[in-house]
Symmetry: C2
Subunit: 301 residues, 2 copies
């Protein structure tokens, strides 16, 4: 392989010496695919938890960005039979699912970083379009993350590497966050706000819910913690933000985290919004990010 293609979005000296690379979980290989031909034009990557939603995002962006799309857009899942993630390419945008939680997402990120490096893609921005539990915000509000914090409200991502506990700084570009936030308009029937986001290692105990199978704290303990989060500037809780911020920072890829709050955790634990409304909520991050992408593509004309 051309050694130039191996710079880009990696931070691994061994990468340059690999004769071939099978990206196992997205089922794409340097020996079976022409990655330069297929992916060198990628400028934006949208990722989110669920398979169906990321297909909907691909379809939505293909329509919204139609003037930047090829004449026919093919919604074939590029991961074929991988059965782990889905991935679609619509013009300069990749839309892929990452499952739930940092470990799952970190696999997708590693493989997308390698894919784009093999392809020689440049100036890529990645967006996580997620769902989350809001804190002191109206259900349906979109939160653009200014800082991703862990379960101890620290901006770090912790990993065990070769038997040792390591911390990586969780760093996000403030200008992109503000630019994405500014894509909300007064005509939208929802608000877009800036705020910190807490990354949890689970949905129940780790988010202070009282309705899991296991719970060893009181309702008072829960509200004291959620209030402390709110007072620290945290506006929503999800399960991927520190990992995304730390790993993209490590490889110098620009990133933004844009999540809708499905409920207000200061009021509820259970998600009781009707399913049609939830589906509409879940597309709001794509609406905002779609406008941001369109603006950037217009500027680059």
């Amino acid at each position: 392989m051309d050694s130039k293609s191996k710079q880009g979005y990696t931070d691994n000296p061994h990468f340059e010496t690999m004769s071939s690379d099978f990206l196992y979980h997205i089922n794409i290989s340097t020996s079976s695919h022409d990655l330069k031909k297929l992916f060198s034009d990628v400028k934006f990557v949208c990722i989110g938890g669920s398979n169906g939603r990321m297909l909907n995002v691909a379809k939505y962006l293909a329509k919204e960005l139609s003037s930047y799309m090829p004449e026919t857009v093919d919604f074939t899942d590029l991961t074929g039979s991988s059965d782990r993630f889905v991935m679609y390419k619509v013009g300069p945008v990749l839309s892929a699912s990452h499952g739930m939680g940092v470990p799952s997402m970190s696999i997708l990120l590693n493989e997308i970083f390698k894919l784009l490096t093999h392809a020689g893609a440049k100036d890529v921005t990645i967006f996580r379009l997620g769902s989350s539990g809001g804190l002191g915000i109206k259900p349906g509000t979109v939160v653009v993350t200014t800082e991703a914090v862990n379960g101890e409200i620290k901006p770090v991502y912790e990993q065990f590497i070769l038997g040792k506990r390591c911390e990586r700084a969780s760093v996000l570009d403030q200008r992109i966050a503000e630019d994405v936030k500014s894509c909300g308009t007064s005509e939208d029937d929802f608000e877009v706000v800036l705020g910190k986001t807490m990354c949890a290692g689970g949905f129940y105990e780790e988010q202070g819910r009282l309705d899991g199978a296991i719970c060893h704290y009181t309702a008072e303990d829960k509200f004291t913690f959620l209030q402390k989060l709110y007072d620290s500037g945290v506006r929503n809780i999800e399960m991927e933000c520190t990992g995304l911020a730390a790993l993209t920072n490590q490889v110098n890829m620009k990133a933004a985290i844009v999540c809708v709050g499905l409920l207000n955790r200061l009021e509820n634990d259970q998600v009781t919004t009707p399913v049609e409304k939830l589906h509409e909520f879940e597309m709001r991050p794509a609406k905002i990010v779609g406008r941001y992408i369109k603006k950037k593509l217009d500027e680059a004309k």
Copy 2:
């Protein structure tokens, strides 16, 4: 709801006071489903990472355990439009996907524990049928976990709960592990071994691979660590075992972890086994667990 139905597989005093419960990620609710009617006969739960595999497991077990199955088995995904997990019921067996990593699996476990408690199911055993990287074993070997250890080779599962770092003991029933192991026979074209399993928070750095997008250690560092794991009795690495052992222990559900090693990490990082062979490898844990379930159903006749 009948308060009796609320004991079982939970460890949460608030559970008894809930008037209804929407199991969000499996899309099943106490107010729309008769859980006693649907699930009170469940005795075995098989879980694994990917959706397609868990459908194959359901189909395989329906065939192997045909004498314990209803006349017609329905392979409808019980999670409907959840788009997070899949779940099938074949006679006394549930087969469900949990995605990748402990955070994703912990969501499924919480909802399955609650589902079975609402249903009043008793004497349930859960099996994780997984894929893993082997250590010093021939690719295709099935490892039944005796002890699940974290990235520091300690038998604990770490969580952040209400801002505090907590450790739960990762405990597995040794007799079940040995019984499952003994379901391998000399006629199988693969070995079944007992061994410790390491739970990693990712696939690349966290498993000591040299082929991720990020890697800050040398090949020598990697092999030193993998050898240390091997010398500690670890025979495979995956991404869920400590969480499964700790959470099932917390609610007193019997559990076993049965994973095939897709490769020998003392030799490779990349998965190079042809896809057809991989699919055959991936069904080996189901073969062994299917025999175990059949034995238990025969004994209970």
